[in-house]
Symmetry: C2
Subunit: 260 residues, 2 copies
Amino acid sequence: MCELLGMSANVPTDICFSFSGLLERGGRTGPHKDGWGIGFYEGKGFRSFIDPEPCCDSVLARLIKDYPMKSNTVISHIRQANSGGIKLENTHPFSRELWGKHWCYAHNGQLKQFESLPCEMYSPVGETDSEHAFCWLLSQISQINPDETEKCDFAFQMKPKLDHLRSLGVFNMLMSDSVYLYAYCTTKLSWITRRAPFGEAKLKDVELQVDFGTETTPNDVVTVVATEPLTHDEEWHQMKAGELVVFRQGELVCRVEGEA
Amino acid sequence: MCELLGMSANVPTDICFSFSGLLERGGRTGPHKDGWGIGFYEGKGFRSFIDPEPCCDSVLARLIKDYPMKSNTVISHIRQANSGGIKLENTHPFSRELWGKHWCYAHNGQLKQFESLPCEMYSPVGETDSEHAFCWLLSQISQINPDETEKCDFAFQMKPKLDHLRSLGVFNMLMSDSVYLYAYCTTKLSWITRRAPFGEAKLKDVELQVDFGTETTPNDVVTVVATEPLTHDEEWHQMKAGELVVFRQGELVCRVEGEA
């Protein structure tokens, strides 16, 4: 199992606070010691930092934690390897370009018989089930015509592909095309939208407390999605199996429920 | 004009020494202040660090300079913007996946009428001539069958595409698929292969001197390609217009000359 963290915000926002909590799980409070990665969008621009070293010991991770990298959309992952060795090419998040946008993706879980998924437009570089599933998924998505669909239509069209991956095992996923953040749940994924008036929040993993009121403006809307709630004193939405939620600029724009 | 730096080596090698020289040109000894980037291969794995901030002031660049990131193949670029604003999505190197490999590319120069180059499999995310040319080039390359060709055949088949880009302006380029480093010249590109016995080399831009003999083993072969020679006391090969050279594990494996 791995840990996922995503953010969608209406203003460029510093992920450091949430990332601190995730960092500690990367080999200290959790077993996820087989690499980590984080992808940041700045407008259409995208950059990712990936490292096969344990997150809690990584020089690079400390830099990201301290470096004020403000972004509207972020996807992060720490890894406990199950499919594919501990190598750079197996480290999430993965990214590919489609329709002139960088798509970024991270997966938590394990898939069976993933090798038979046909990858058409995209080929995996590493050996993980996760990257193979991403290449298949994006090939499938490329056949949807985005110009002809409203955002929720698009999510409804994508949903059966995600359900298919869930039928192969555990598929908790975060994905973004720079504008939208997609979160899909099989077993564990929670989200929270924070907006003014901001209260105080305390991280579960380390002794760190931030008053959001001093860090943000009254118009800020910030949604955080994580494998498990990162804070004690806030109410997180726990997603259900087969549920897909879509965020834009911090706001929930679409929700497609799973089957009962 | 921008500055290019590439490396191909037979053992994972630290690029720090050469990168120090390039860094100083990013806004201090040179006018290239509009961002910088560097891509590292570790086996099939690839990671890049890109930053629209001036290289000589960048926190991230200092980290890369000091962080021992050993790699067989490296491509780096510092930018003086001419086509496309100073934004993350316009920052080199660019990368796309083809045939299950990460391809990384950086361009120095300026192209006219690049908008009419048809991008089929890949679309540019930003607005630069460079990324547009890369998307076209990789679409063209995808039509070559790599399994049926020897490496030099492949280079010969790629050469007319590169010549076509040169016909649109100035096209100095570095590209890699993780195994091979391709360097193509229109106006300015030099390379040097260093091997045992290593001597001392002094960087042109900063007061830094390294004795290669203490940093490497007797079997190491390291080729560095740069816009202009980075050292005073070594003999660099200056490439000619239309010349393509291909390196693998530090060794020159193919050279296709330009027309007279």
